[in-house]
């Protein structure tokens, strides 16, 4: 296993690579086509390099444990806005998620609908491309249009365009309080309608999920104590036509509920493959029905988690739809047989291939993981 301790070492290792490299952070998210290659971990590139609470910015080396970043932010009453999902329980993996892994996978959570995904908070990267060249893009300021936004390109590229060595984020104040509203017994169609009403209100909903298994629809609001109480009240009135509303105001309990939604805990430890489908929210119920499996909805209906029998080619069941489906959990055999990432239309696939060839001309970084 290759484990560089500095960016320069990382650059030398990639430049000198004779064959494929399997790039990992904490190794907690084995998603995509299995990669055969020597393991290159950035775990030793660790540590927060700069944190300015007054400027809402943090810079950390890619291998820094996510937990360390979150703890540093929490100590100053701040947080990563995008609520990164922890895949360990769902995927049955161990290890320590790293901040670089969060970026490489463009991880998000329920707050995606309000605060964006990792890509939206990421303001700077340093990485080593497939030739071993060290490249920087963006920086440590939250408004920056100087040159092309390779920061976005790196987010969600799963280590196939470069190996991240450092990442910088815009962070936000953590709220003083949170409340969770729930409604019982709605169909997916009614639930998506209720969530659309809530998300179209001025009450700043930061989470909107529907768990058909439990027959529960949930909304979250966050902010100052009085503001949360006020909005919980107004939102309850707004939701009244959809049924009786229960409000949970205990902070620890609210956090637990939404951690469960974030980590798709309902599917953890259960047999079957797990797919993640991003759609236009109002299409959610119909697409979920097409999966033929068990579904849960986040993002107001726009994110479907589906649990289907092992080896199911879900895309064949879904047919054409506006959005994309990613195979998140399946055996290596299935992930080798069914493309984990949604195949792109030919003109976009050509651009993606072109980018891959430019940034990793020898094809040594996670070859095949995303397809090309």
């Amino acid at each position: 296993m290759l484990s560089p301790a500095t960016e320069t070492e990382l650059s030398e290792i990639v430049a000198g690579a004779k064959g494929p490299l399997r790039v990992v952070g904490g190794g907690t998210r084995p998603i995509g086509r299995p990669v055969a290659g020597e393991v290159l971990t950035v775990a030793a590139l660790s540590g927060i390099e700069l944190y300015e609470p007054g400027a809402l910015t943090i810079v950390a080396r890619a291998g820094t444990p996510l937990a360390e970043v979150e703890a540093a932010l929490a100590a100053e009453g701040q947080r990563l806005p995008f609520e990164p999902m922890d895949h360990r329980a769902l995927l049955g993996t161990g290890g320590e998620p790293t901040i670089g892994g969060v970026v490489a996978a463009n991880v998000a959570g329920p707050r995606r609908i309000q605060a964006g995904a990792a890509r939206d908070s990421l303001i700077g990267v340093r990485f080593v491309d497939g030739s071993g060249t060290i490249v920087k893009n963006g920086g440590r300021v939250m408004k920056n249009v100087t040159g092309y936004d390779l920061v976005k390109l790196m987010a969600g590229s799963w280590g196939t365009l470069g190996v991240l060595s450092e990442v910088a984020f815009k962070v936000l104040p953590a709220p003083e309080a949170a409340a969770s509203l729930s409604l019982e017994g709605l169909s997916p169609l009614q639930a998506v309608e209720a969530m659309a009403t809530a998300l179209g209100s001025p009450f700043e909903v930061s989470g909107a999920a529907h768990l058909p298994g439990e027959g529960r629809t949930m909304l979250r609001i966050e902010g100052f104590v009085a503001s949360v109480a006020y909005r919980a009240g107004r939102l309850s009135e707004l939701m009244a036509p959809f049924g009786a509303v229960t409000v949970e105001e205990d902070g620890a309990r609210v956090a637990e509920i939404w951690r469960g939604i974030r980590d798709v805990s309902g599917f953890a430890g259960r047999a079957g493959d797990v797919w993640r489908i991003s759609v236009t929210p109002s299409d959610g119920p119909e697409i979920a029905a097409r999966t033929g499996g068990e579904a849960m909805f986040d993002w107001g209906g726009g994110l479907i988690w589906a649990l289907v029998p092992e080896g199911t080619d879900l895309r064949a069941r879904l047919g054409a739809f506006a959005g994309h489906a990613t195979l998140i959990r399946a055996s290596e055999e299935t992930r080798a047989r069914i493309a984990p990432f949604q195949p792109e239309p030919a003109p976009l696939a050509k651009l993606s291939r072109g980018l891959r060839e430019k940034f990793d001309p020898r094809g040594v970084l996670n070859p095949g993981l995303m397809g090309a």
Binding site: P53, T133, K143, L153, P173, Y230, L351
Partner: protein
């Protein structure tokens, strides 16, 4: 500021190129008369002008594709143009280029409140996107100062921001999908009403690429429900340092205002004389705005005023009425116009870490003395996006050059303290040759490789963003071909 010499081969083929365009496009869509193309000789960076070879104003995506296919076949550079409000020269033509303007494409194609998006043609102006949804109490968040005139196409090209991005983000955070035509004339659909890309984040890299990767003809934009209310508070301080500290303290206290705007004395004086907003005469003025219900606003402003008081303000005024709120914003919103009344000015937009505000303002003051040119500062303090306005006299020989040298020094200072050359205006031609102060050759090479993929012949807006020296091998290879 240099531009590449026009390709004489292209100039000599003007008639043929125009004839091909006119043969395949509606007559009214192609402008080639020398007097008429002059209307497109510059954008809002008016110091630089050059009439283009011709102008094409298509009405549909198909017409854009046709125009690009012809230009690609003829090897003619294309300069995409929205409303021409770029302050960076993003839409400045060269004599051998065709301007491709999307101003006729301004329709709303789809509005969906349940899924909270709007799909528009890219020539639609920023403000009229909000205009199309405000009867349902929705709005489009990015709000550049030029929002009355600027087009969504240009907003996407420059990844425009505005005063409210501390809370709502910039264009890239509010863009869900695009229809884009490549230089070869191929129509691409990227993204849609769903979130996040399936593969690489092409949408993310297109946004902010200054019209160098393709011509965006349609955009799917996120719309948001308007807050119940908003209220600004005005505070004045005796020094920039103290005002900078107040900004930092507010942010650290966990309040997230939608806007924190900062004006210094020269700017206050000019706007006061122009707009009579009733601003106090002091060294630094902050406008802080929060949103929500009345009670929520009271709570947040209570906290903010507490912090403000701790730093001994010379003035602290909460808007008590809608009218007063408007007056507080009036001065800020007319700042650029006010400065324009009294002087020629150049507007910069470097961004710095918020913690460096006092130091950078002090240094700018010192440099102002050295250069003998005045500077007024007005900017988005919450996110460190500065807007120093350097005052000069366009009629005085040498003043523009002096002003540009001063501007370059300010931007270098921004980079030195950990910031960047441009926070929301874009690089264009204005900051092109300063890119090497922020980026190593390898960093620029990585960016140029992206253009190689989207536009292998380097025909789209080719002499922008990258220092001419850095992009020369790529651009000249094209000419040779």
């Amino acid at each position: 500021m240099d531009m590449p010499a026009p390709d004489t081969g292209i100039l000599s083929r003007k008639d043929r190129i125009v004839a091909r365009l006119r043969a395949e496009l509606p007559q009214a869509a192609v402008i080639h008369d020398e007097a008429e193309v002059r209307a497109y000789e510059c954008d809002a960076l008016t110091a630089y002008k050059c009439p283009p070879l011709a102008v094409v104003l298509p009405a549909t995506t198909a017409e854009v594709a046709t125009a690009l296919r012809i230009c690609h076949a003829e090897g003619v550079p294309v300069v995409p143009r929205g409303s021409g409000t770029s302050l960076a020269g993003g839409a400045l033509p060269t004599a051998d280029s065709v301007i491709l303007g999307v101003s006729r494409m301004n329709k709303v194609l789809e509005t969906d409140y349940d899924n909270r998006f709007i799909r528009v043609q890219s020539g639609r102006t920023n403000l009229s996107v909000t205009g199309a949804v405000e009867q349902e109490d929705f709005f489009y968040a990015p709000d550049p100062s030029s929002q009355l005139a600027c087009a969504i196409a240009g907003n996407i090209a420059m990844n425009s921001g505005g005063a409210h991005c501390l809370k709502y983000g910039v264009t890239t955070n509010n863009l869900l999908g695009v229809t884009m035509v490549t230089m070869e004339g191929e129509v691409l659909e990227i993204g849609g009403a769903h979130l996040d890309a399936a593969g690489y984040d092409l949408l993310g890299v297109i946004c902010g690429s200054e019209g160098q990767l393709g011509v965006v003809t349609e955009a799917t934009l996120r719309i948001l429900r308007k807050p119940e209310g908003a209220r600004p508070v005005l505070m004045g301080y005796d020094s920039n340092e103290v005002a900078g500290q107040v900004v930092s303290d507010i942010i650290k206290a966990g309040v997230l205002p939608v806007a924190i705007e900062f004006m210094d004395r020269p700017c206050i004086e000019a706007t006061e004389a122009f707009a009579k907003a009733g601003y106090p005469m002091c060294e630094a003025l902050l406008i802080v705005e929060v949103e929500g219900s009345d009670a929520e606003i009271d709570e947040q402003l209570g906290l903010i005023m507490q912090i403000a008081r701790r730093h001994n303000p010379v003035e602290l005024r909460e808007a008590q009425s809608e009218d007063e709120a408007k007056r507080i914003w009036l001065g800020r919103k007319s700042a650029f116009g006010a400065m324009g009344q009294i002087n020629d000015y150049m507007c910069l937009d470097g961004t710095i870490p918020v913690s460096s505000l006092p130091y950078v303002l002090k240094r700018i003051g010192e440099m102002s003395k050295d250069y003998g040119l005045g500077v007024a500062n007005v900017f988005h303090a919450g996110d460190g996006n500065m807007h120093p306005l350097i005052l000069f006299d366009a009629n005085k020989p040498g003043d523009l050059e002096l002003c540009e040298a001063f501007g370059a020094d300010i931007l270098k200072l921004c980079v030195e303290v950990g910031g960047c050359l441009t926070g929301e205006h874009g690089v264009g031609i204005e900051k092109r040759d300063l890119m090497t102060t922020q980026f190593a050759p390898e960093d620029l090479e990585a960016q140029m490789r992206v253009k190689d993929v989207f536009d292998p012949k380097w025909l789209l807006n080719p002499a922008k963003v990258f220092p001419l020296e850095a992009s020369r091998p790529r651009r000249e290879k094209v000419v040779a071909a």
